[in-house]
Symmetry: C3
Subunit: 340 residues, 3 copies
Amino acid sequence: MEFTVQQVADLLQGKVEGDNTIKVSTLAKIEEAKQGALAFLSNTKYEPFLYNTQASAVIVAHNLELKQPVTAALIRVEDPYTSFSTLLQYYQTAVIASKAGAEEPCFIGQGSVVGDNYYRGAFSYIGANCKIGENVKIFPQVYIGDNVTIGDNTTIFAGVKLYTNTVVGNNCTIHSGAVLGSDGFGWAPQADGTYKAVPQIGNVVLEDDISIGANTTIDCATMGSTIIRKGSKIDNLVQIAHNVEIGQHTVVASQTGISGSTKIGNNCVIAGQVGIVGHITIADKTTIGAQSGVSKSVKESGNIIQGSPAFDYKQNLRAMTVFRKLPELQRELELLKEKV
Amino acid sequence: MEFTVQQVADLLQGKVEGDNTIKVSTLAKIEEAKQGALAFLSNTKYEPFLYNTQASAVIVAHNLELKQPVTAALIRVEDPYTSFSTLLQYYQTAVIASKAGAEEPCFIGQGSVVGDNYYRGAFSYIGANCKIGENVKIFPQVYIGDNVTIGDNTTIFAGVKLYTNTVVGNNCTIHSGAVLGSDGFGWAPQADGTYKAVPQIGNVVLEDDISIGANTTIDCATMGSTIIRKGSKIDNLVQIAHNVEIGQHTVVASQTGISGSTKIGNNCVIAGQVGIVGHITIADKTTIGAQSGVSKSVKESGNIIQGSPAFDYKQNLRAMTVFRKLPELQRELELLKEKV
Amino acid sequence: MEFTVQQVADLLQGKVEGDNTIKVSTLAKIEEAKQGALAFLSNTKYEPFLYNTQASAVIVAHNLELKQPVTAALIRVEDPYTSFSTLLQYYQTAVIASKAGAEEPCFIGQGSVVGDNYYRGAFSYIGANCKIGENVKIFPQVYIGDNVTIGDNTTIFAGVKLYTNTVVGNNCTIHSGAVLGSDGFGWAPQADGTYKAVPQIGNVVLEDDISIGANTTIDCATMGSTIIRKGSKIDNLVQIAHNVEIGQHTVVASQTGISGSTKIGNNCVIAGQVGIVGHITIADKTTIGAQSGVSKSVKESGNIIQGSPAFDYKQNLRAMTVFRKLPELQRELELLKEKV
């Protein structure tokens, strides 16, 4: 996509200084921008970059007074940071929105219904009896099993796999390689040392405004649903086991694993590589530090925990400080024993 | 799939109480069941749910005496729990078994042979010279490289990737996104600081009755085979490196990583997010706690270990208890030093 | 692929002893080799295997004196180990090189250019305006978004997903299920407890000679590029967040996660299951032990760190040694307190 500086200025209700026919095709930081890029200057700390940037155009404030000549075209606006954020959003949305229609070959099973304004990439597969909303983008090589429901304005990137009966809400984004609905890991030990599969016939439900990261796995419930509630954001390579429930507006960072039947509250922040055991409850607004191992329920909301096993964040920090000095502590104890 | 209550009762050799023409299409817990669902009542603790469940039908014991009127149809059987488990198994198997034939387009290379009663989903790929057994279900977008062998009654879900020469036994299940046979991570450091690839020409062998979780990765051996033995169950996002051998009936939970050439015994239980270094041996019936880091061989069978690095589970628990109190310990030592 | 012993001997400039028409089709260790395999004997410790191996042929040194009769054909060379390594390399390259042409169906978008001597597997997808170099192997079900650039001699295995604008250099290998260019995990918390997506419009750049493991995820930069520099090797299931930069010839083992905007130096060795926080810098030649959690920058090069949080490797080892004895330490302190 290429735009003239004037087109960008019109969009931002800004005023051009310099050549308004210059074309820009990407967005960049002022200190890294190359020809063809549009940058912005908000923090005056970065003003020196303005005078030697290779950017083709720069968004600046109405009231900025130039101290040296500038080769880039300028777009004068009220608040350069907000204007640039608007462009970023616009750019990202435009890239996805430009996808439309059904590329061939793609597969659609009997009884499935797809809403208006969809995109279905080549080699994508939609099973039987699916209901897919409006303005849904299904990228190439996506697999959608039978009886899947997908809401409006949802984007499913290349190679996502949704097992039979999965439910996805409105305004969701699922990144490549994510798997929703694989069997929960339920094995009944037998007397002879072998294992018998516990049938897993439930599904996965994503409510609205959910984001699922690349190669994340969410198992179906044994019965009922594994549920991610409205507005929660899950990063890459996260494992969510059968019958887990994650509350609203909770953020789970990469490589974290949540074991079966655990319930996570609303507005929690769970850092990367955390492990949480099964069948516990985490209260609302809990923050869990990176690499923590949570072995029991967190009952009061608003706590910060850390460590493996995890306990109060500050206590853990103090214990870790002493941990590093353990050899000295041991020596001091030995000396003391000799003295006494 | 929809069944009448009478059809279900016939299957379970049970007796209907109420309207035997009511239709059920799913299975649910009695406390969560909605219209159209079939539930069961085994533990009398749940009996109060029976009198206001929305389930269309409930499986109950022959000898259950009703204390209030029930709107759901009842199916009377000897042992409701066993009957319900039978239905769960039946339901899950039926969903997969209903898949049959070859959807188009799918790709099959020269010299490959597929047994009877198969399912091959659209956009699935079978390379050259493969031998695929009877009653094998290959879901859409599966990749099977050249010279791959797959036994009878095995199910391979959407998007699984099996590299060239992989061997999969009978009655195996491989979940979406799992990768078997990618190159082992072998790099010979060179004098100039660069790395040269150690060729990885071996394969991956799954014996019978194996389950592999979603997005799990199993590297091929440098030479010979990376082997998972009969009956073992591997969860999601597990990493199994080149030349690893996992014994029979061993369970490995999510996000665990096993480094190159390590041999795991039979009937081990390995919890989630465990890391095991390369070139060691873990004895039969070893249990390894979550997030443990195993840095040396476990020689005697039947032990439970925990921690990073891992040692005896109980010792680790005791040490962790003191760890939390380290700041106090340090203070007490300081006080004592002053006194002496 | 099948070769006569004479063909192999010619390739290695060796001399055949025995039947030079015998055919070999695989390579194996002398202690594991079966009929049809070619093995080698370098370390004389393994010489006893030579006299009862089932291998069809064995590469041995010119000066080896046989102590018993051998049934396998022998290929005499100067240095059996080097000769065998040459064959391994040759074998692995040959398997990939044998793939050629475009299998159907595959998808290629408008304006995309593919160099000579390519392989494009069935169900692979190349978007619009891509530039793909010479001798590139694109396996089945690969997804390549719009505006992607791929250098010469690069191999992309089945099911890899490259988002729009990804740049891959020469001589790279990307294993199945890897995802490059998914959105960075950037969420701006709003006053009402919800999150707003920070647009992620950058890309991923792999320089030359990079290897990416199976199911690894590399997010695109918010703006600019997430970069892996020349010669670095990334294992399976690794997470690399937005705007991360990994230097040259750095090795990252499985299941490690690197958070946003962190810069890793050249020639580092990062073990498995390591977590590194965002916005820090790791100096050249740093070694990080398995399961470490790195919470601050490493400023001097050449250090070895370990632990969560990580500090000097030897100090950590000493502290861990005392950690195991904490219960005893506590008892001794109690005894001492009583005495004083």
